[in-house]
């Protein structure tokens, strides 16, 4: 098996390892400040600046239907460039590059099409590791998510129970 393959960036979301092709990644930053945006989709944590551009920060945990967690020291925002858009993906951690040979990629198995199955292009098995390859098209299409929630409620759900007085 020749292991040339395509270089990928690996990152963690809720205990699983995901990958996207390196050529889609502009840069990866630590998460410092995300500005809340009212009326945005619930999976959008807010906006950040990247090189003078205002970029949406998409929380992958929320996107995949997991509980949000407070950003930690390992949290990363991965700036991806896809179809002339730049979107920041919030992940629990991102610290690896790996070449994934095309022959190691399998289609998504039935048993995996659970919580994040439909956002996957395939599953790569490298040694004993399972790496889930993200389908950016589906990840960025938020039409399957329910409507708008108050931004503070989502981003800070672990600290503040927001309520809107009536």
């Amino acid at each position: 098996m020749n292991a040339v393959g395509e270089p990928h960036v690996l990152f963690e979301v809720a205990g699983s390892t995901y990958a996207i092709p390196s050529k889609m990644v502009k840069h990866i930053d630590m998460v410092e400040h995300v500005t809340l945006v009212p009326n945005a989709n619930p999976a959008i944590d807010g906006v950040v600046f990247s090189r003078g551009q205002v970029i949406p920060a998409l929380n992958l945990r929320a996107r995949f239907g997991f509980e949000r967690e407070k950003n930690s020291i390992t949290s990363r925002i991965i700036f991806t460039h896809f179809q002339n858009r730049t979107v920041g993906l919030l992940a629990d951690a991102a610290r690896e590059f790996l070449s994934i040979p095309a022959e190691s990629v399998r289609p998504v198995e039935e048993t995996l099409t659970g919580i994040s199955g439909s956002y996957l292009k395939g599953v790569a098995k490298i040694g004993s590791r399972l790496i889930l390859l993200l389908d950016m098209q589906n990840v960025l299409d938020l039409s399957d998510l329910p409507g708008v929630a108050a931004p503070g409620e989502r981003a800070k759900s672990t600290h503040i129970k927001a309520h809107i007085s009536s």
Binding site: V37, P38, F49, V54, G152, E153, I160
Partner: protein, 643 residues
């Protein structure tokens, strides 16, 4: 290749005709250079007609104006087609009509002094045998400008003047010769004989008697059957990504950049000193340097913003074409009055405003203006007036579209709205009326026509305008008039804002929305009809807390600031913990669809790299905003305080 004409020939003004004549003339020349034969011959035919007009041989009437407009439109389409490298359409029918007009004029005036007549005579006969009573000869004069001649003061203009003095220039064609030379070929009809003409050669004019008069190009192109002119409907021609900039503004930019370069080298010196560890670098020197740079940057920003400004004439000038077409389609008569065309607004905004303005003008025709019979019955002049007016107030540009038609029928709107299941308040004021009109899918028209009636229009108009940080207002008087007022920011790139914060969230509010800033106690906030409100002047003002926009709970505190904001729906107060002052900010667009949300017009940065949202008051408070209510003070006391 631009063509901007005031083809609004309602009254015959010699200067206007002269100007038009010149424009068509130079257009013809330019077309010839780039090889646009269709456009060239049409421009030529139009020129002929204008010449007749200039000399009073052709009367100004609707047909003439229509023809001129069609001709202009055709030429515009030619330019567009040329730019897009598409095939040219055939101007034949138009040329035929134009030359028919010209010909009828020259035959109806039998005086024989008409130039058209002269030229016609010229074409009918062999030029070398001139009829004695006319005695005209046709010359081909070629002039090649050169540096030597130019030093003697001889150039195209002087040659043209010289030729015009002795005869009539029938045709002038610039030609590109090899080695970068340009030759101008004039065809001159004159009484002068060859001997008179001979000495011109010293002035660089090569003359040549034309034996065979060529048939007029315009006539030769008219073999196509007369059908409706194939003119595509594209009301705007100027490319949307091109700006014409006054050289002075560019010079200003250059000057500022120059200053910054000097400032930079000063800083370099200080840096060198500091890094060598020699000498002491005074903090004050750095401070001063920084101050100068700050000033330079501000100047640069302002100068750049000015470069982006274009006169609203860019869209206004297109409207006569639109109204003419609409007038024909709807059989309604209307006069278009354009005011304040020199008002400047950001190029980006003007591009975005094209469609809304077009729509409002179409609406004026479809809904506002009555047909001539109704107008006379109502005691109004048969011809309606549509007025487009632009002006600048502070940082805003106001654009008004007013028609003196029947006004908006409140009963019809109410009935229709109720039928659609839309809530209609008892008292339908202008503001509520606009809300209904701007609701999606609303149209009082039973059938949609080209002018209006699809019912998507006003919703889109308002959306576009509010997205751009503007507001729209309506003023209508039944039977008299309808007026829409658009208030737009001068530019999108830079905005004067007031920075506020609450609950750790900082926002910028465009200053143009802010009426005043109040300081209130927590106990001033009361709940009225489940909406927070404070006493304000002699009524109450609905307020919204900045935290609640972000879904955060307000922390209890004693004193708050309230920014009184105006939007098209009235006033609303924004309650914030802190006000950080006024700041000019650079607006960054939020382009990604994921963050294109209502209520946010962009983001900026205050020096720490964190995005700060710029809130659009009008959109944000859509739910909360109420028109100012006058409630007696006693009534308020019954309400429980909110905090």
């Amino acid at each position: 290749m631009h063509l901007e004409e005031g083809t609004e020939l309602t009254r015959v003004d010699a200067a206007v005709i002269e100007e038009l004549f010149r424009r068509f003339h130079s257009f013809k020349g330019i077309s010839a250079i780039v090889g646009l034969q269709e456009a060239e011959s049409l421009a030529h035919a139009t020129e002929d007609v204008l010449r007749g007009l200039k000399q009073g041989k052709i009367e100004v009437n609707q047909k003439l104006v229509d023809l001129l407009m069609s001709s202009t439109q055709f030429l515009e389409q030619s330019v567009l087609a040329f730019r897009a490298q598409k095939p040219q359409s055939n101007p034949g029918p138009l040329i035929k009509d134009l030359s028919a007009l010209d010909a009828s004029a020259s035959t109806s005036h039998s005086a024989g002094k008409s130039v058209s007549k002269r030229r016609k005579a010229d074409f009918e006969q062999v030029a070398s045998v001139p009829r004695e009573d006319i005695g005209l000869l046709k010359w081909k004069c070629t002039f090649i400008p050169s540096k030597v001649l130019d030093e003697k003061g001889i150039n195209v203009t002087s040659v043209r003047e010289k030729l015009s003095a002795i005869g009539e220039i029938v045709k002038a064609t610039p030609q590109v010769r090899g080695e970068g030379l340009v030759a101008f070929e004039f065809i001159l009809v004159t009484k002068e004989t060859p001997s008179d003409v001979a000495d011109w050669e010293a002035s660089g004019i090569v003359t040549e008697l034309m034996d065979q008069p060529r048939p007029d190009q315009a006539v030769s192109g008219s073999s196509a059957p007369s059908v409706a002119y194939e003119i595509e409907q594209n009301p705007f021609i100027a490319p949307s990504h091109v700006i014409r900039v006054d050289l002075k503004r560019l010079d200003e930019l250059m000057r500022i950049v120059g200053e910054m370069v000097i400032q930079k080298s000063r800083s370099d010196q200080v840096l060198t000193l500091a890094s060598r560890g020699r000498g002491t670098v005074e903090v004050s020197v750095l401070k001063e340097s920084n101050l100068v740079l700050t000033r330079n940057l501000r100047d640069l920003r302002q100068a750049l913003m000015k470069v982006r400004l274009v006169p609203v004439a860019e869209i206004f000038a297109r409207m006569p074409f639109v109204t003419r077409d609409l007038s024909r389609e709807t059989n309604k008569k209307a006069r278009l009055v354009l005011r304040g065309q020199q008002t400047e607004i950001d190029k980006y905004l003007i591009e975005k405003l094209k469609e809304p303005l077009l729509h409002l003008v179409r609406n004026a025709f479809a809904h506002g203006i009555e047909n001539p019979r109704e107008r006379i019955k109502a005691g109004k002049p048969e011809e309606a007036t549509i007025e487009l007016k632009a002006s600048t107030i502070g940082d805003s540009v106001i654009i008004q579209i007013r028609d003196d038609g029947r006004g908006i029928n409140r009963e019809a709107v109410t009935k229709k709205a109720r039928a659609l299941g839309v809530f209609v308040p008892e008292v339908l004021d202008n503001r509520a009326l606009l809300d209904i009109l701007c609701g999606a899918g609303f149209s009082t028209r039973e059938e949609a026509d080209r002018a209006a009636g699809r019912g998507v229009g006003m919703a889109v108009v308002r959306k576009t305008i509010t997205e751009l940080g503007g507001t729209i207002m309506l003023e209508t008087v039944a039977g008299k008039s309808t007026e829409f007022t658009l208030r737009m920011p001068l530019t999108l790139a830079i905005a004067e804002t007031i920075i506020v914060s609450s609950g750790g969230q900082t926002c910028a509010i465009p200053q143009s929305f802010v009426l005043e800033v109040l300081r209130i106690e927590s106990s001033d906030i009361r709940s009225v009809n489940r909406v927070d409100a404070i006493p304000y002047r002699d009524g109450i003002l609905p307020v919204i807390r900045l935290e609640s926009i972000f879904g955060l709970q307000p922390e209890p505190r004693k004193a708050w600031f309230v920014l009184v904001l105006t939007c098209e729906k009235g006033s609303v107060g924004l309650v914030a913990e802190q006000i950080h002052g006024q700041k000019e900010v650079v607006v960054r667009a939020m382009q990604d669809p994921l963050i294109q949300v209502s209520g946010v017009s962009g983001a900026t940065e205050l020096g720490d790299g964190k995005p700060v949202l710029i809130l659009n008051a009008a959109e944000l408070f859509n739910g909360a905003v109420r028109p100012p209510q006058r409630i007696p003070v006693e009534a308020k006391k019954e309400e429980e305080p909110a905090l």
